[in-house]
Amino acid sequence: MTEMNLSVKARRIGRTISLPAYLAMLRKDFKKNKYLYFLGLFGVAYYLIFSYTPMYGVIIAFKDYSPVKGIMGSSWVGLHHFTEFFQSFYFWRLLRNTLLINIYELLFAFPAPIILALLLNELKHANFKRVVQTVTYLPHFVSIVVICGMIVDFSRKSGLFNMILGWFGVEAQNLLLDPSLFRTIFIGSGIWQGVGWGSIIYLAALSGIDTQLYDAATVDGANRWKQVLHVTLPGIMPTIIILLILRIGGMMDVGFEKVILLYNSQTYETADVISSFVYRRGLLEANYSYSTAVNLFNSIVNFMLLILANRISRKVNDTSLW
């Protein structure tokens, strides 16, 4: 029993283990696995420096950070930056824009890959299915800068979008200068780019459904629609729920990459979200503490949403992240 698994041993002993014995066990473990711990040191150091140091750095949200004085030396200001943000004109605008983009994404972008996966699942020709998959995955690989470059070009007054809108009698204008169109363009292009890729995970879940269930349903006289409703959808429901929880946990999240590529000062009214505001205030205007406070507020709300969604889903149908 020289290969006795130490962690198993520790678990068996449980909490009754005394401190000296615990230390002795640790020492033995370190001695035995000294090379492994040495190799692990790189990973641990990486996470400590590049993930945990910035987490500690978040305390500048409660300070008046100045680069000269450093994080430690800067003076505390308590919740000053938070109250300033909550009372500012930006607060409601950013909250509304961030939430609305997410709500519309939940309504339109979230179901799109599910529908595509269901449609692909109904195809009888494997080759055609593969062709559709290959084509629809493609935009996922094209960089967001190029995609947005194309959107900017197509939205010009003489661009492709305006030409198509012209067929329906819509007057040409630069679409990206119209605040009322920003969300449509942002979310529509997101669906266009992501729908194929997003369907992969559902297709994986679909391939895991036992074909006998379909046979049984056919015997029971279920038509195709009924089979989708009573076999296929329940089969992928756990996947849908998990992704929905994650999605709801991100309801206050909109990445700034695509926003800052597509917005301009004329569309801030609908386009400016929390992350793009943090980027502008923080990096372009060097308001470090203030923007960190805004970001922290955002993270806290996100985390609470995630816990809430997880709890609701565990109650309602026994599927949860943890």
Binding site: N5, Y47, W197, F303
Partner: protein, 292 residues
């Protein structure tokens, strides 16, 4: 074969038509850019209606793009970030995943906890910027490589995959006196070649497409990756050098066509590689979805 009703057949036809439409909508924007990039500028401007072939044939735009010093340096920098970055990414991710996949390591779960926490909490943009600045990495190539060395999701995929390698193999090697490093290099890695390929592609395409790191950490234009150069040309409309070219060649619409050619030049490597790498990506997503 069970008899299919009329409704079934109608649905199948509608389904196929819909998916064909989806493919057209997906591909046409790219085809439009290809056609436009090969069109004679003055004729492209005159053209109305759906563009379904180049208007005339014109390659000068491509010549101008390939002569643009920013495009050239952007390309070189991006290749550096992709090659060096991906190598370091995969090496350090695999190394840490190996440690985390060992059985008899008492502190394994503590380390794993430390990793998983970072999936839910992060310092955010500004503390990250302050860190990189205080490490003296601002305006260096390292700023685009080191802070993102290990992607937690990839780490977990790798760890799960390493764990599924039969333990007997290592045990036998250890009996013969193989060290941990040897187990890693001669048993785990050779058995994980398909997984390593997936990781190379995940990280590689990530580096190729990334631009926000450069936006945040770099001021020196000499270090700009291709995507940041593209942003200047395509989004910020800084067609200063291309409009200069327009005036010297006497064609006021050349700048537009040059933009299209720029898109193609910058996207071509991905488009050419895409058919070959697609299935590995799909595989990677599956591993992540099923095991993660």
């Amino acid at each position: 074969m069970i008899k299919r009703s009329l409704g079934d057949k109608l649905f199948d036809v509608a389904n196929i038509l819909f998916l064909c439409g989806l493919m057209v909508v997906t591909l046409y924007p790219f085809l439009y850019v290809v056609f436009a990039s090969l069109s004679v500028p003055s004729e492209l401007v005159k053209h109305s209606g759906i563009l379904w072939r180049p208007q005339g044939f014109f390659t000068d735009a491509y010549k101008l793009v390939l002569k643009n010093p920013m495009i050239i340096s952007g390309y070189k920098n991006t290749i550096f970030y992709v090659v060096v970055g991906t190598l370091l990414n995969v090496f350090f991710t695999a190394l840490f995943a190996f440690v985390l996949s060992r059985r008899d390591l008492y502190w394994k779960k503590h380390m794993m906890m430390m990793v998983v926490v970072t999936m839910f909490f992060s310092g955010g943009l500004i503390p990250g910027y302050i860190l990189v600045k205080s490490l003296g990495m601002l305006d260096t190539r390292w700023a685009l490589i080191v802070p993102g060395l290990i992607a937690t999701w990839n780490l977990i995929i790798m760890r799960t995959s390493f764990q599924s390698i039969p333990y007997e193999l290592e045990e036998a090697a250890k009996m013969d006196g193989a060290s941990e490093l040897r187990v890693f290099a001669q048993i785990i890695l050779p058995l994980s070649v398909p997984l390593l390929a997936v990781m190379v592609l995940f990280y590689g395409v990530g580096h190729w497409n990334s631009w926000t790191g450069a936006l945040i950490y770099l001021r020196d234009r000499e270090l700009f990756p291709l995507q940041l150069v593209l942003r200047e040309i395509l989004i910020e409309n800084s067609t200063a050098d291309t409009t200069n070219l327009s005036t010297t060649t006497g064609d006021p619409f050349l700048g537009e066509v040059v933009k299209y050619a720029t898109i193609i030049v910058a996207t071509l490597p991905i488009l050419v590689l895409y058919p070959f790498i697609q299935k590995y990506f799909t595989k990677g997503v599956m591993i992540g979805a099923l095991k993660g």
